[in-house]
Symmetry: C2
């Protein structure tokens, strides 16, 4: 099996590739997750047909998605589960720690701090911010809550890469502005609004209502 994986690009070329459509990049974590599940079951190889079944995509889509990042797998033999998983994790930058700062320590913010899924994946919540004086200075889930005015200095001090926004909708834009001004390039947005940010800043929304609203299209048909 050692030779069943090939690539025609150097590691550096893979890493610097930014030509993949954003929607393809958004799917890569799903590939990583499915591959991890396959690895647990002991599977060594997986075909694009099998991946397609798991991901509700056609085998051709799977092959096209992966082709943006290199040549994985051999014709007729499929992909080596462990190797493809490791490569995709490397491409996504998942082999390191990323520090996150949370803005908004209300009910939702507290649930986010308590969420056990971040740390095992390398996402460390290292700071929290709120504007409520009765919350600032307290400790929530082991994290000291600082005033929103201290976002910029804290981002620099603690090496924060990712801002997590859990404030009410009317406050979301100004909080995103403050995060952008402090140099943050990635925002996970729980507020039910689409904030405006510069093109080089990525925003992903966590919003169950948006997810429901795109499924009703298909229910209705």
């Amino acid at each position: 099996m050692a030779n069943s994986y090939t690539t025609d690009r150097s590691d550096d070329e893979i890493r610097s590739n930014t030509d993949a459509p954003e929607v393809v990049v958004h799917r890569l974590p799903l590939y990583v997750r499915v591959l991890a599940q396959l690895d647990v079951t002991g599977a060594e190889m997986v075909s694009s047909e099998q991946l397609g079944t798991q991901l509700q995509m056609t085998p051709a889509q799977i092959r096209k998605d992966l082709s943006y990042f290199g040549r994985f797998g051999k014709q007729g033999r499929g992909y080596n589960v462990k190797r493809l998983s490791q490569e995709l994790r490397s491409i996504l930058g998942l082999n390191r720690q990323w520090n996150a700062g949370l803005v908004g320590v209300g009910r939702l913010g507290r649930a986010i701090i308590a969420y056990p899924g971040f740390r095992p994946e390398g996402f460390h919540m290292v700071a929290a911010f709120d504007e409520d004086p009765s919350v600032v200075g307290s400790s929530v889930g082991g994290i000291d809550v600082r005033p929103i005015a201290q976002i910029k200095e804290t981002v620099a001090e603690l090496g924060i890469h990712i801002g997590i926004v859990a404030v009410p909708a009317p406050n979301a834009q100004s909080v995103c502005d403050a995060l952008v001004e402090s140099g943050i390039k990635a925002i996970l947005n729980y507020a039910p609004v689409a904030p405006q940010v510069p093109l080089e800043v990525k925003v992903r929304g966590v919003d169950p209502v948006l997810a429901l609203q795109s499924m009703t299209y298909f229910l209705k048909s």
Copy 2:
């Protein structure tokens, strides 16, 4: 302004259109949300450039997305905010009530029941299910918790369209199987796994880790 909106398709044709790529359908709720925000500010018209700025897309992408569903707006005049919003809501099936049933009444499930964002958008949580005998029979947020074995009869009884899965990862597949068997065609999945379902069943995941993992790709560059 009355004539600034045109379409070359009958309402029925719009409604039955299923040729739009799924990724475009997934973006439509974002359009609806941005249009609602514009409407609140009193804006009557909006250009594809303005929509593009708000949605971090090019004006050409905006025009292409909308072209799948009809001809909205006039060359050089942009889109009528209220009308485009109403049409997109109709296309997405948002002008009616959808009943949802939650499976898994742990900490996450309770937060979902308490989430105030569903009902104003027409999503009504009408049933909850759990396998834990100490929870079954109790009432959580005004909803009686039933045993998982009663999913099928409850879906029929209460006209449930959407299943919401908030069980631990190892239980997610069997719960999705039960939902599919009961006729559910749309599943909102909070479990950190990609369940396998028939092609005609839509699954959308609510997963902050997946969102973070696709942003690190861009942070890394």
